[in-house]
């Protein structure tokens, strides 16, 4: 009987897959784009979104599968957009980058004030993790005067900040604080329960301190006012919850637990979105949440060990299935394993390369204009150039990037693509440096050179182009080369607006592979190779300009 059932299921799944793939260009409902761009940060890691160590060219995770299932349901194509996690909400509000966010965004009043959010697709609690040897800690209150690690701008972050007497360390991603906890750099981690679940595997020195508390939900974010899209997403999400698709996905990642069963009967209640503080609202083990569905018992039986406060021992005995295999303890790092990431890192290096070269081209062009204005311009031009140089040299690059990417969109509606904003920012910033490098060169060319050229009848433009600039360039070249190599490294800053360049790729991959040493050396080697090529080219140019 069970056999027949599973056969039927497979058949059903097969025909469903057939209809979704073979169906000629399914037309989505009005209000839903043909291609639905959903954003997440691949640095989020397992189980949300990650590259399995044995298949580094694949992107998996329960949010990836949820996005696919959702798009199948909506009859549109799914396209993943990489975006820095901390900037997802501003990115969505700005528009143009992507349509929705499926990235473990919490359904909190803070977030609901900025974006519209769907019904929840995942229920979780806050889990305190400490070293196994630190047996005295059970709640946040036990941590007075000690260090706690949290992910930036999350509920954990807010709760830890609200608790008096804690020294809060803020992290950009949610894996490294476990490492620091093992190393004794911090004393506890407060994190979402699924993150705790996945990261406690293979870390016997760590333990859960007390049960999970402060239940909250992940939900899909859409821009404010996109009521139609939100309606369809809610409907599709409801279907996925009720027809068991969501459960099947979560089972694969060992994430299904009693609390998830409550998703089916979720209603937007006022207290739902308000994070409660303290362990008073603890979710009891194996899900005795309000309004348990009839499926609760079955659910707890199949995956009870993954209840929000499930025992660690039970967790590690569970046999991972299918993709979930990647969630198992990481394989040992080795040269062969490391080298498998080379093509991926090289591809990211192409982004670094074009961002750097395009930025430097812009920087040299603007820098030349600035230097000429400063050396030969009218008093007004001269002053403008000086102000420009002071402003761009005297303010942080990151600030300038945010100003150009988010600020210009906000003030003028200039919705620049990430690549353009990156090149513009780096180019305008480095223009100030190159202007000063070139000015040093221009001022170092002897006056006699200009006089000789003018005496021969060369026009000022010809004098500049044929006589002064080539000599100035040779003098400026070492400084410019220095900046070019610095730019290769500085270009990594553009990852905050969603470009995956070499450093970002390294961060994503080292997290997935659990290998900072091998991948770090590989990444460093690629940077060195690019920097070396740049300095070799500069030396060749210098030789050509040599008197």
């Amino acid at each position: 009987m069970r056999r027949v059932q599973s056969l039927l299921l497979i058949l059903l799944a097969w025909t469903a897959g057939l209809s979704s793939t073979a169906g000629a260009a399914p037309t989505p409902e009005p209000g839903i784009p043909q291609v639905l761009r959903w954003a997440n940060d691949a640095e989020g890691g397992a189980p949300y979104i990650f590259h399995p160590a044995e298949q580094p060219d694949q992107l998996v995770g329960f949010e990836v599968e949820l996005a696919q299932a959702l798009c199948d349901r909506l009859g549109c194509q799914s396209r993943f957009v990489q975006f820095n996690w901390a900037n997802l909400i501003p990115g969505l509000r700005q528009g143009g980058n992507f349509d929705i966010i499926i990235a473990a965004l919490e359904r909190t009043p803070e977030n609901l004030a900025q974006v519209a959010m769907s019904r929840p697709y995942f229920t979780f609690g806050q889990q305190l993790v400490t070293r196994a040897s630190d047996t005295g800690i059970r709640t946040l209150g036990d941590l007075a005067g000690r260090r706690i690690g949290v992910l930036a701008s999350t509920l954990s972050h807010r709760l830890a900040t609200r608790q008096p007497g804690l020294e809060v360390r803020v992290y950009d991603e949610n894996v490294n604080y476990f490492r620091d906890l093992e190393l004794g750099r911090i004393d506890a981690v407060l994190t979402d329960s699924p993150i705790a679940t996945i990261n406690l595997q293979g870390r016997p020195q760590l333990r859960r301190a007390g049960p999970a508390f402060a239940p909250s939900h992940y939900a899909i974010a859409v821009p404010l006012g996109s009521d139609r899209l939100l309606f369809h997403i809610n409907a599709a999400l409801g279907d996925l919850i009720h027809n068991g698709t969501l459960e099947r996905i979560y089972q694969r990642y060992q994430l299904w637990d009693a609390a998830q069963a409550g998703l089916a009967s979720w209603k937007p209640e006022p207290h739902e979105t308000t994070p409660a503080a303290g362990p008073a609202t603890t979710i009891a083990p194996n899900g005795t949440r309000p309004s348990p569905s009839t499926g609760l018992t079955l659910v707890t039986e199949t995956s009870g060990s993954f209840g929000i406060s499930g025992a660690i021992g039970a967790t590690s005995t569970a046999e991972p299935t299918a993709v979930g295999g990647s969630v198992a303890p990481r394989p040992k790092a080795g040269l062969g394993r490391t080298l498998r990431y080379l093509p991926i890192l090289l591809e990211a290096a192409i982004t670094t390369l074009w961002v750097t070269l395009a930025s430097m081209t812009l920087a040299m062009t603007c820098g030349l204009g600035l230097a000429l204005s400063r050396c030969y311009g009218t008093p007004a031009l001269r002053r403008t150039a000086i102000v420009y140089i002071e402003v761009f040299r005297g303010t942080p690059l990151l600030l300038q990037l945010y100003f150009i990417y988010f600020g210009l969109a906000q003030a003028l509606g200039w919705n620049l693509p990430a690549g353009a904003a990156a090149v513009l920012t780096l180019g305008l910033n480095y223009a100030a440096n190159e202007a000063e490098n070139l000015r040093a060169g221009l001022e170092a060319v002897p006056r006699g050179q200009t006089e000789a050229a003018m005496a021969l009848g060369l026009s000022p433009a010809l004098t500049l182009r044929r006589v002064v600039l080539p000599q100035a360039l040779r003098i400026s070249l070492p400084g410019i080369t220095n900046d070019l190599i610095a730019l290769f490294k500085d270009s990594s800053i553009v990852s905050v607006i969603g470009l995956v360049e070499l450093t970002k790729e390294f961060l994503i991959r080292s997290l997935d592979a659990g290998d900072y040493l091998g991948l770090g050396i590989l990444t460093a080697a690629i940077y060195l190779a690019m920097g070396h090529a740049a300095s070799a080219a500069a030396r060749a140019l210098e030789r050509r300009l040599q008197p």
């Binding site: 050179q449 000789a452 050229a453 021969l456 010809l462 008197p547």
Partner: protein
């Protein structure tokens, strides 16, 4: 062919040229002499407008500029003036990033837009004339000072100037290298080139200059045929400059 009337130039509060008059025929070789800071270099540099005189007038062939008028800032007029003059600098001022040949070709190629082959041929001829055909593809840093100055002369001649302005052409050279430059200039004088020469080489001036102009304190103090000025100096300042002391003292 050259006529300067009442040329004045001040640098801040210092009057460098205090009403200079000068007249020079085509083919005439004139040496400008005088103590350091007397204004002779400034006078030379006013002739191709590297320095802008404050007042006075300048005529060179068919180009005439009245200093201190709006016309004096006319770029095209200034270009025409420079087109008719060549200048040799004390420090040579060759373009260091170009070979000797490229230095000579530069102006014909880019100012007069002479075809490349023609400019190259002419430049090689000029380098042969100054005895440096075999150094055509050397950069200035690979040439001696005397060779560099000869390339500079070839470069100035490439624009076929009506007058060559030489600003102490041998002052930066070791004595043993001066000869080669002076002999090139002497040959140019023989060929009928109009030369206006600021120099401290009185013997050289005696050899090639038709006339000497002695400037002191921004004024022309004495002028006349070379031998008359140098061998029978009348003016006390000139006698002092030549190291002869006062005439009365001799008598």
């Amino acid at each position: 062919m050259i006529e300067i009337v009442g040329l004045r130039k001040r640098f801040g509060s210092v009057t460098v040229l205090d009403g200079i008059d000068h007249h020079q025929e085509a083919g005439e070789v004139v040496a400008l002499i005088g103590p350091s800071g007397c204004g002779k270099s400034t006078l030379l540099r006013c002739l191709n407008w590297l320095e802008t005189p404050d007042s006075g007038s300048l005529r060179l062939g068919d180009v005439r500029i009245e200093a201190g008028t709006p016309q004096a800032t006319d770029r095209a007029l200034r270009q025409r003036l420079r087109r008719r003059t060549g200048m040799i600098f004390q420090q040579f001022n060759l373009f260091p990033h170009r070979t000797a040949l490229e230095n000579v070709m530069e102006a014909p190629l880019h100012v007069d837009r002479v075809p490349d082959a023609e400019a190259r041929e002419q430049a090689m001829d000029l380098l042969s004339k100054v005895g440096l055909a075999d150094r055509a593809h050397h950069r200035p840093s690979q040439l001696s000072g005397g060779q560099q100055q000869r390339v500079a002369i070839a470069r100035a001649l490439a624009m076929k100037p009506q007058i060559l302005l030489c600003d102490e052409p041998t002052s930066a050279l070791d004595p043993e290298l001066r000869g080669e430059v002076l002999s090139v200039l002497a040959r140019l004088a023989d060929e009928g080139m109009t030369l206006l020469l600021v120099t401290h080489e009185l013997n050289f001036a005696r050899d090639i200059a038709h006339r000497v102009v002695f400037i002191d304190g921004g004024r022309v103090v004495a002028t006349g045929p070379t031998r008359a000025v140098l061998d029978q100096p009348e003016h006390p300042r000139l006698r002092e400059f030549l190291g002869l002391g006062r005439r009365t003292a001799i008598a």
